[in-house]
Symmetry: C2
Subunit: 330 residues, 2 copies
Amino acid sequence: MSQFDVLCIGNAIVDIIARCDETFLVDNTIIKGAMNLIDTDRAELLYSRMGPAIETSGGSAGNTAAGIAGFGSRSAFFGKVAEDQLGKIFSHDIRAQGVHFATKPLERTPPTARSMIFVTPDGERSMNTYLGACVELGPDDIEADVVANAKVTYFEGYLWDPPRAKEAIRLCAEIGHKNGREMSMTLSDPFCVSRYRAEFLELMRSGTIDIMFANSDEVKSLYQTDDFDAAVKLLGQDCKLAAVTRSEHGSVIIRGDERIEIEAIRVCDVVDTTGAGDLYAAGFLHGYANGRSLEVCGKLGSLAAALVIQQIGPRLQLSLADAAREAGII
Amino acid sequence: MSQFDVLCIGNAIVDIIARCDETFLVDNTIIKGAMNLIDTDRAELLYSRMGPAIETSGGSAGNTAAGIAGFGSRSAFFGKVAEDQLGKIFSHDIRAQGVHFATKPLERTPPTARSMIFVTPDGERSMNTYLGACVELGPDDIEADVVANAKVTYFEGYLWDPPRAKEAIRLCAEIGHKNGREMSMTLSDPFCVSRYRAEFLELMRSGTIDIMFANSDEVKSLYQTDDFDAAVKLLGQDCKLAAVTRSEHGSVIIRGDERIEIEAIRVCDVVDTTGAGDLYAAGFLHGYANGRSLEVCGKLGSLAAALVIQQIGPRLQLSLADAAREAGII
């Protein structure tokens, strides 16, 4: 029997979230809706211009791990924090959610990663990430027994930004596949795709990845086309299973020739889209690891995404398991 | 002309807020609705049992200072943080709100104060405060020119917990009154009143305090009676001006023989009561410092309190100035 349903690997980040108006993004040359990588100096500058904020544990794959545990599945997380106050907050929150998290924290600088997230009145989030301690994640941080005992190992494309995390991922794929497990990833961000397009394509085509998550911008960036359907068709040829989210238009699941359309859940008031994609993946993977149909997996993803965009921050305070029952999905 | 409308002085605290059920409070002997003071060991223990949380700048008088600035008044804050990540978060948030904050941070231990706040399903908050760096606040932290140039200096009764803050307050009262300014305080918490009843009564009867804020539990604790009206009458005799909040029953303002009843604003869904009293004081003092009638002061207090209990955490993300205009109060 597997010990874990899903292992998630990603940058361990504390989110610092504040509201701003559209002109703030323009004035500070922040690419709207994207994950902008920043260095120490820019982090200082942007923070000095940022309004009053709230802090919450974040990180794309960390949010997914927390969401999976929130649904009642057994999840684990690998990610690097430093031994500082933000690192303690990150570690506390993910463990308090019931996620196994034992990556050794960094004893020296740099400090724990943080992402300054500016939320515009339309609910869109624009992220500015200082990677900090995340740059130290490497193969030594892989708990081989956890990988071997997790039905699915899921990681974020963002891990191609720090220098040695990709080595850790290749090691995981080797261990996982040797143990009959599946590997999954998210393309993370269209600009991240631009940075590592060839490598991401190779991950799929070499069979390193079994399940791919993406949104429409990312899949179009991957295949350098404006034609969504063409991009999705190519994705279906490159990967055994893929789920592509389309914001308010729901999602599309592709497995071979099979194409399943999942409706989005209508949300009246989008407060903050932070974590929407991460929670979609959480719902999908919870269903998938528990042997649900792809349609149910997609519906669980839509539900979790719809809930998280109605609150500030990417970690849900309510029980996703209860929400799924109430929605009659499982 | 005065440089500041209101100067607020209090414990500089970062709030760590999580939901819990009623049994959690019982099992952990947390007094519901109160501010429970805790030491390092208990802080570690409670945090290990706490669910996933969010962090936000807090502290009673800090919330009031932020609220006053949110209304568009000029406010200042004195309070002690340490030079650590939580201290930087506190300093950033209060300055980003437009509050003057220049208290020198503590270079050594203890770390910045934090309050673990457990919010039960009824929206009530139960606080567990580790005072940390706040214990070092003393007369050296008083910026005399700010006190001399603030129309009202407002502080929290909680300042009687750290050892030397009361000396700082007595110094402020001296400077303030010498410059024709007014002094104001909040009784903070019924258990805080129990700890310092005689001193708080003396502060009023000696004329050190001109304006007193309290809630019904606190004023009843002050005069050791269950009779609200009797307690309010005694408060009116001891203090030139007082405002007593009564949760959903609104508030009562007393000045000599004058007694003004202010209705609460009906709130359908109380999310988290953290900051309700602090924001009432913010609204009241904003009105007071700008020469509004006591009725308008009370209404501004009710409005700010009603808004803050509909969100998580004590710092409002929306503009109180806009909210007051939209509500037609000013």
